[in-house]
């Protein structure tokens, strides 16, 4: 249930930071990026380009993709250096 007007904060503000986390853009995917760690050269280009911060990074290294938020745009696969080719796109199977 969404709140009625009396309960909303004044001025249509969003009073909490990072509330986008509650919104799973992963539902939008029709294609899914597959990360191949063996081919990855850890250039982090995919991390920079991903519009939804869905490239998971730990200790400065790419470790995978967060499918809750990855919307399947394919930018990471496109930007991953061809000589590495560490991300490929597949049809989403739900």
């Amino acid at each position: 249930m969404k709140e009625g007007w009396r309960k909303l904060p004044l001025g249509a503000i969003i009073p909490e930071a990072g509330s986008a986390e509650k919104f799973h853009t992963g539902d939008w995917r029709s294609e899914r990026p597959i990360y191949h760690p063996d081919k990855c050269i850890q250039c982090l280009i995919c991390f920079i380009y991903c519009p939804d911060s869905a490239i998971k990074v730990e200790d400065g290294k790419v470790v995978g993709i967060d499918y809750d938020f990855c919307k399947g745009c394919g930018i990471c696969a496109k930007e991953c250096p061809p000589k590495a080719g560490a991300i490929t796109m597949e049809r989403e199977m739900k």
């Binding site: 969404k2 709140e3 009625g4 007007w5 009396r6 909303l8 904060p9 004044l10 001025g11 249509a12 503000i13 969003i14 009073p15 909490e16 930071a17 509330s19």
Partner: protein
């Protein structure tokens, strides 16, 4: 302290005493002096204000919105075309519930180009969600600017305070100004509200808001305006207790036993008071209603007040260009709908583009309204007083 000040000087003086955090402004006749004088206060180090000289009024209001969103106490000034250029941003300031105080010098809107007074500029932004206070003279303008800061911070709505172009803005009058210390003590620090620079409580302002929430947010803003009148009244009462001067939402003059009344707004109401005195001397029972707060429209007070008269003449320094007449007339008619007693009312549109309205002309209006009171008949509901046919 008793001093001689023009309306513009009085408003600039009030701004100096308020010592806002940010003023972003662009000059326009006849309001230029307000921000020009204020900028010299900034230059002379008399205020701590960050003065942002922008390239247009649209930018001025945008910068004010940004500063207010960051938690600052913000003021600016404009007139006419400048206010029109701000129009888009006015709605945003109000919907974001930002306490901004805008000093407006009323001037007609082009075309034809004219720099003199009428109320078409602020009345064209009456639906923007701003509180609107129309003042009669320099003294009231000065007091109202200080009050507006308090009102805006309590109601969490932006406030416009207006003076009549040239008549008040450039006319020097005797006014009584407060000590700087008194003003600063009265206003105190602005109450804390959610803002963009609060890193402990980060918030988002102005997000996209579609079918699922926009209506609720708008409804909440409407409620803000609906419930703002008590804030305005409370501030007026406190101000009276502290400083002695009182300004009601609707100012009245000698109406207690009046048979008929004339309604007016701005500087002409002062002239009309003198007419009331003259007519009273001749034994004619007339009184004056001066609308001071127009947004929120004080419908209940007005309804209560106006029902007791045999007739009311409504003076408008603007026309809605809608076939309906002037703004005050149209809104008063709406208020009177289904009232138990509906006095006949007649609209006198006057003074467009700064056309002087004389004592004699206002007396003619009163005489006519007395006649209407007797006959109960209004033949021509909207007339243009002082225009050449």
């Amino acid at each position: 302290m008793i001093v001689a000040r023009t309306g513009n000087e009085a408003m600039a003086e009030a701004m100096r005493q308020v010592n806002p955090d940010v003023v972003a402004a662009y000059p326009i006749t006849p309001a230029t002096e307000i921000v020009q004088i204020f900028s010299s206060f900034v230059h002379d180090g008399l205020v701590d204000t960050k003065f942002v000289a922008v390239e247009s009024e649209h930018s001025a209001m945008s910068a004010c919105i940004g500063a207010a969103a960051a938690g600052a106490r913000v003021m600016t000034g404009t007139a006419s075309q400048g206010l029109a250029l701000m129009h888009e941003m006015l709605f945003i300031a109000a919907a974001l519930r930002l306490p901004i105080v805008l000093c407006v010098v009323n001037r007609s809107l082009s075309a034809p180009i004219n720099i003199h007074c009428d109320h078409s500029d602020t009345l064209a932004s009456r639906d923007s969600g701003w509180i609107q206070i129309y003042t009669e003279n320099s003294q009231e303008a000065y007091d109202s600017v200080i009050q507006a800061v308090k009102i805006s911070e309590r109601a969490l709505l932006p406030v416009m305070v207006t003076i009549d172009g040239f008549i008040i803005s450039h006319g020097m009058e005797r006014i009584d100004i407060l000590d700087d210390r008194e003003v600063r003590e009265y206003l105190g620090e602005p109450p804390k509200r959610p803002n963009l620079l609060d890193i402990d409580k980060p918030i988002t302002m102005g997000p996209l808001d579609l079918q699922d929430y926009f209506f609720e947010h708008k409804r909440s803003e409407i409620e803000g305006m609906n419930t703002s009148l008590p804030h305005i009244e409370a501030v007026a009462r406190e101000y009276k207790e502290r400083f002695g001067r009182y300004y009601p939402v609707i100012d009245t003059y000698r109406i207690d036993d009046a048979e008929v009344a004339v309604m007016a707004m701005g500087s002409a109401a002062g002239t009309a008071k003198v007419v009331v005195d003259r007519m009273r001397e001749k034994g004619k029972k007339v009184g004056l209603i001066r609308m001071r707060v127009v947004r929120p429209f004080p419908k209940n007070y007005l309804k209560e007040l106006i029902q007791g008269f045999a007739a009311v003449g409504i003076m408008d320094r603007s026309d809605t260009l809608s076939t309906l007449g002037g703004h005050l007339y149209v809104e008063t008619r709406a208020v009177l709908y289904r009232a138990s007693h509906q006095p006949p009312i007649k609209n006198y549109i006057y003074g467009l583009g700064g056309r002087d309205i004389s004592l004699e002309e206002i007396e003619e209006i009163f005489e006519e309204v007395l006649e209407i009171g007797k006959s109960g008949k209004v033949t021509e509901p909207v007339v243009y007083k002082g225009v050449r046919e």
